[in-house]
Structures are given as C-alpha cells and as structure tokens.
C-alpha cells in the first residue's frame, strides 16, 4: 500500500508537534523516520495509526482518502503500529493478548486462536509460550508478540516506533530479518529510530523531522554526516571516552544476593575505584535493576555486603545511603523520580532542604534558578515538572542531585534522549567522576555501554559475569554474553 501523508498539523496546547508534515511512503518499502527528541515522530505515527486525530491535513492510501477516528479504523484499513513502549496488557497471558481485538465473535475459541498463533510464530521464528504472563516477558519478546498480533490482523502497513531500544542483538537481527521478509511480501514498513546504523541496515528511504517539520528525505546508501546535520541542524560528535579512574578503592560489593518475587540473583561481586564508570549490560529484566536497587538501598539484599568508602551500608536504612552520598536516578522519570504536580522549585526544597521547620522559599529559588541555568533546563523554577519535555525532565532530575556523591546509580540515563542530549548528559556524568564519584549505570544500548564505561558487568537471566574491561570487549562478544553464552 502506498501512503501519502499530506499537510498534517497537530498541536498540544502551545506546542506544535507536527507542522504541515507531508511524507510519501511507497508500497513494499521500509521507510525510515528520523529526528531528535520531540521532533514529532511519534505524534505523526499516532495520527497515522488512528490513535490521535490531526488538527488538519489528510492521509491517502493508494490514492483514496482515509478517515481515521480510532485505532480500530486504522486496523480496519490495514495499518498497525508497534508502540515505543509495548502497548499490551501485562496482566494477561500471551494468548489473551494475542486474541484481544483479533476476533469479533462472542466465544473465545482458544483452539482456533492457538493454531493461528503457532502458525505465525513458526513462520517468523518466534518462540513464545501461550500461557506465559506477558508481564514476565522481556521487552523484545513483547515486541515480537505485538508484531505477530499485527500480522494476524492482516495489516498491510506496519509502523515501528523505536523498536530496538530494549532488545538484544540476536533479537534485533531476528526482527530485521522479519521486516525484510515482510517488505518482500509487499508490506509497507515505517521505522522510527534515533539509531543511524539501524536505519542504514534496514531502510531504503529516510525522512528527517525537526521541530515538527520535514527537513528532507534521503535514499540509501545514506550519508551519515548529512543525516546528523539534518536532524540537529549541526554536526554532533561525542568526545572520546577518557577514564577518570583513580587507584583508591571506593566501592566493594561482596557476593551480593538480591531477590524479588520474580527472580533470585546469583551472587555478584565488584570492586570499583573512585571515579570509575561501570556499565551494567543485559536485556531488561535480567537482574540489573534488582542489583542497582540493592546498591541504592531501596531493596534489601538477601546476603552479601556493600561497602562504600569503607562504610558497610549493607541493608541499612535508605536514609543512611543518602547521607553516605549514594544517589539513584530511575529510568521512569515521572513515575519514580519526579513528583507530577510539584514545581521545579518545590523539588529543590524536597531534595535539598533538610533542616528547619518552615520552607526557605528564597534559598530554594536561588538554588533552583542557578541549577536549571547550569543544566540548561528549558523552563522556569515555577514550571511543574510534567510540563517539561522528556529531555528536560532528565536534565532537571540530574540537576537535583547533590553536588558531591560517592556512588551515582543510573538506570538508562539516556533512554529516549536524542544523540545531542545524550552526549551532553554523559559529559556531565564524566565530570562527576573527576570528583571521585563511582558511576553504575544500566543500559541496553551496546554503544552507550562500550563508549562510556571503564568496565562492564553482564547480566543474563539473574546471572552476573565477572567485571570485564569494556575496551577489550567486541560488540559481538558482548551480544553473546547478554544472550547467556560464556557467562
């Protein structure tokens, strides 16, 4: 199917997310859509998939005009979307998720549904157990399920919004193979991404959006520099990684065992020196999060020890960790990091004023305005945090951190950030290493891991590797370890 997007406009309040956007996608191609954070990619795709309504503009499919009022309409027209975060129902089983919205009939005919499911899985080499709870699957598996589901619906156009942020190399390869096959079968694929190499591997055409507008379209083979310039309006280069590691031992983790209701981790040990950056590699849900939470004092360890600068903090109160200079920056900023409804200024009071009965509003205002200037947060001290854009929320969260820290733990510090913002964040973090802060961070992005850390711990299904120097790791090797080989 050929898709013509013509003159789409969409505003959220004062923000114009899409301004007169026109894109044409040829039938049977894999079409890339690129742009920095907030460029309007997701918005455009949500409009195309019926999830949002455009303020003006129109969509034509094979020349005919489409009226989309809901996702149901889009699916009816053969357009399906794989959302940035898997949009499925974690509490239900794989089969229930697969069946949801698939049939119009009254009875749930499990036998028939299961047959369809297995057929599709076999065709695309997907391995999923129908009775598993979706909430227990990895992000990659959930994406596979969604894709299989869309195919079962018989869609002719598949939209994928940043599908590679949470999946492993092998899973990514499997996904790309599948997409190529689909394109060969005549399906139209629209692929939204920040990752240039993914676009290079996959797409024949790429459209670049900036600030809601189309800035241009390129065809394969792509010119990388040109793409970056189109996305950011300038060239963006990351400075090479320079280790700030000292010889002083600042962190000593001995056979730490953590468990949650889902998994029990094998013992993990790690000694790190002041200023060292340790990357935690692994698929999501492999135990990095438990490990980080235990290190941050949010979760109790079953056994083992955690010593920071000679102080044994194992299973102490969370407050003791904070006082000792441990900080944790969660991945879901608005859920765990910031308080929706409170202003930036109020956040500074909460995070930094420890003494006194009355609030010292003046002091808070001073600190807040100085810090948000320093961190170039677009917004005022009075802005409520949910009014900030994702990238700015991340900046605000970092600006709230105390000035001197012994251990800084970050979960996906650049998730969802564009190239430019990501580089900026890492500059800030590496500067902290100069003061001797140990940084632990988890990421699913192999490049980010290898490019920014001294050593890596690889997590796979609750098992943890010995620390390995990242300079000595090839991406290939790392990919295998993440997959559970050689661990």
């Amino acid at each position: 199917m050929k898709i013509e997007i013509q003159g789409i406009n969409k505003s959220f309040g004062a923000v114009q997310a899409n301004a007169d956007v026109s894109v044409t996608v040829a039938s049977g191609t894999i079409h890339g859509l690129l742009g920095e954070n907030g460029a309007g990619k997701t918005t455009l795709m949500r409009i195309l998939s019926g999830y949002l309504q455009a303020d003006s503009g129109e969509i034509r499919v094979d020349g005919g005009r489409l009226e989309l009022h809901s996702p149901a309409d889009a699916i009816g027209q053969g357009i399906g979307m794989l959302h940035q975060d898997p949009l499925d129902v974690p509490a239900l089983s794989v089969l229930d998720n697969f069946a949801l919205g698939l049939h119009r009939g009254f009875w749930q005919r499990r036998g028939r549904i299961q047959r369809t499911f297995f057929n599709l899985c076999r065709r695309f080499g997907v391995q999923l157990q129908p009775e598993d709870r979706v909430g227990n699957l990895t992000v990659g598996e959930r994406q596979q399920l969604e894709l299989v589901r869309l195919l079962a619906l018989g869609v002719r156009v598949v939209i994928l919004d940043e599908p590679t942020t949470g999946i492993s190399e092998p899973q990514k390869r499997l996904l790309f193979e599948t997409l190529h096959r689909l394109a060969e079968e005549g399906l139209t694929v629209i692929f939204v991404s920040h990752k240039l190499e993914d676009v290079e591997m996959l797409c024949s055409v790429a459209t670049v959006l900036r600030a809601g507008q189309v800035v241009g379209e390129l065809r394969a083979p792509f010119d990388r520099e040109r793409l970056v310039e189109m996305m950011f309006g300038r060239a963006v280069v990351a400075p090479p990684f320079a280790s700030r590691c000292t010889t002083r031992e600042a962190l000593d983790i001995q056979s730490l065992v953590v468990e949650s209701s889902r998994m029990r981790m094998a013992p993990a040990s790690l000694k790190a020196c002041a200023g060292e950056v340790i990357g935690l590699a692994g698929l999501e849900g492999s135990g990095q999060r438990l490990f980080m939470e235990a290190c941050a004092g949010i979760r109790k360890a079953q056994s083992g020890h955690l010593v920071i600068d000679g102080v044994d903090l194992t299973n102490g109160r969370y407050r003791d960790y904070l006082d000792q200079g441990v900080a944790y920056v969660p991945a879901s900023r608005l859920e765990e990091g910031l308080v929706r409804g409170l202003s930036v200024r109020e956040h500074f009071v909460l995070a930094r004023q420890r003494a006194g009965f009355l609030v010292d509003w003046e002091a808070a205002e001073q600190v807040a305005s100085a810090r948000i200037a320093e961190y170039s947060v677009v917004g005022t001290t009075g802005s409520r945090v949910e009014e900030l854009s994702g990238g700015n929320q991340q900046r605000a969260l970092l600006s709230l951190l105390p000035d001197s820290l012994k251990l800084l733990i970050l979960d996906h510090p650049t998730r969802g950030l564009d190239l430019g913002s990501g580089i900026w964040v890492w500059q800030q973090l590496h500067e902290r290493c100069l003061q001797g802060t140990v940084i632990l961070f988890a990421s699913t992005d192999l490049d980010e891991l290898v490019d920014n850390s001294d050593r890596l711990l690889v997590f796979s299904g609750g098992k943890v590797s010995q620390p390995v120097a990242s300079a000595e790791m090839s991406r290939e090797e790392l990919g295998f370890m993440i997959g559970g080989v050689n661990l």
Partner: protein, 344 residues
Amino acid sequence: MNTRSAWTRLALGVAPFALTLATTAAILMAMGENPLEAYANLIGGGFESWAKVADVAISMVPLMLASAGMLITFAAGLWNIGVEGQMVAGALLTTWVVQAIEAPSAVMLPLTILAGLAGGALWGVLIGLLRTYGRVNEIFAGLGLNYVGFALTNYLIFGPWKPPGGATMSGTEPFPRSAWMPLIGSTRASWLALLLAVVAILIVYVILRDTRWGLTLKAIGLNATAAYRMGVDTRRHVIFALMACGALAGLGGSLQTTAIYHRLIPQITGGNGYLAQLVVLLSGLRAQWVPLVVLYFSAVQVGSPRLELRMLLDSSLGGVLQGAVVLFFLLVNGFRQRVGLRDR
C-alpha cells in the same frame, strides 16, 4: 465561554448552591410543600436569636477540627474515612481522664485537651500502621475501626462506665463542672472551644502552605515513590499525617464531651467525621475556605429541627442540602475544567 472573567467565575461559584436549591425545591414541590417557607424556616432556625447563633458557633467546633485534620491527610493523598473513630478515641480518653482525676478546671481542662489530642493521635497511628505495614487501604481500615470505636463506646457506657442508676443509651454520668469548657455568657457556646478550633485551622493553613512537612506530605500524596527516592521516609510521614489528623479530630471528639454534651454518649462524634469529608471537598482542599463551609453546614444542622416542628419535614432534608451542594460543586468544577480545556 471565557472562564477567567469575574462574572463567569462568580456564576460558577454560585452554581452549586443554586442547583441544590433548585433540586430540593423541585422535590419539595413534588411533595406538596412550599420550598420558600422551608428555606425561611431553616435560616430562621439557625439565626433567629443570639442563642441560636451561639448554637451554630459551638456546633462548628468539632466539624472545624475534624476538617482541619482531614486537610492534612488529604494533602498526603489519603482518604481518611477513619476520622469518626479518631474522634471517638479522643472522646474516650477524655472521659477516662475526667473519671479518673479530680481537679479544678485550670488543671482539668488542659488535661482533657491533651487526652483528646492523644486519643485521636493513637487511633490515627493505628490506621497508619494498618495502611503502611498491613497494606490495608485506609478507607477500609478507617471505616472498620470506626465501628470498633462505636462498639467500644457502647461497651464502656454499658459496662465499666455505666452511671450508678444503671446503664442507658443516654451515656455516662454528666461530667463535673470542672470538666466543662467555659461558656460565653448564658449561651451554650464555649469561647475556649471556639478558640481551639480557630487556632487549629490557622496551624493547618500554615503547615500546608509554608512548612517543609506540608510540602513533604504533598509530595507523598502526588507521588510516594518519587518522594521516597528523594529521601522522604514515606511510611513514617503517612503515619504522622494520620496521627496529626487524629489529634485534631480527637480534640473535636473531646470537645463534644467537654463543651457540648458534658458526658460521653454512644454516638459521640455526631457524624462530624463523615461531614468533614464533605466540608473539605467543598472547600476545594483549602484551609481558608473551611470556616465558611462549616458555617453553612452547621447552620443547616441547627436550623433543621425547626423546619421539622413547623412543616413536619424529615430531618434528612438537612443532609440532602449538605450533600447535594458538594456533589454539584464537583460537577460544576468538572464542567468548568471541560469548558476551560476546550478554550485552549
């Protein structure tokens, strides 16, 4: 519609009351009664004499205290249905003090106040523990404990605390005069009780506006996880919030015994714990509006017996007038938001 113009705002502010009057008038007319006569009786019953004004004033006290307390738990995002039980606990501990100690007013009254604060606070802590460590939703923990509180009261009135003449539902023996809150002239209103209520509202106003604790509670109410990550001991503060609310509500319960009934009676709370919920919602969770709202509630309450004596209308009409305003207030608010959103 422009929601920012002064006229629109006034209209939207008055609308809940207008809608309430209109609906109740419709019901009354359907029953063959004259609504104007009813409203006149209600207002007359509440304000016709200084004695009546004093009645209204004193009946505001426990409701103000319960509402003040509930503002604190509301800030922390808690649905504190347990205010009734907290009032009961304050009243029980007060009664115990009055029965256990013989002392002049100057000693006795401060002791009863402390007992009220302490009793309610303990009850609040109990709800807090159930909520934080027992993971029982505070609505059910509070509600269940309300009933336990009433059963405890009945047990005490019919058992250990029964008057010498034998137990009845009319309560314990009247308190000695030394445990009566001082009255204004020959009225039933006590200046000390009123003062305590006003001070409580002021304290809560300041706490929620200008203290770190107020901001902490607000953060917990909006996002407990994030607050915890920023170093707030969320469990402790939830328990504290319930404790502070309990203390104020408990004082309200205590004053029911020392300023109004002068003894312990079975349903000592007078339903003020539930009414406070309505008061706080109608005040838009803002302390400065609470006294005005409480004035409305109390006037309706004091005025309604006359309505019944003159027109034989059931007392529940008062409750309808109170509840309907709050419902319409919420609906009109929603309407305003909806129109406001369309505006943009």
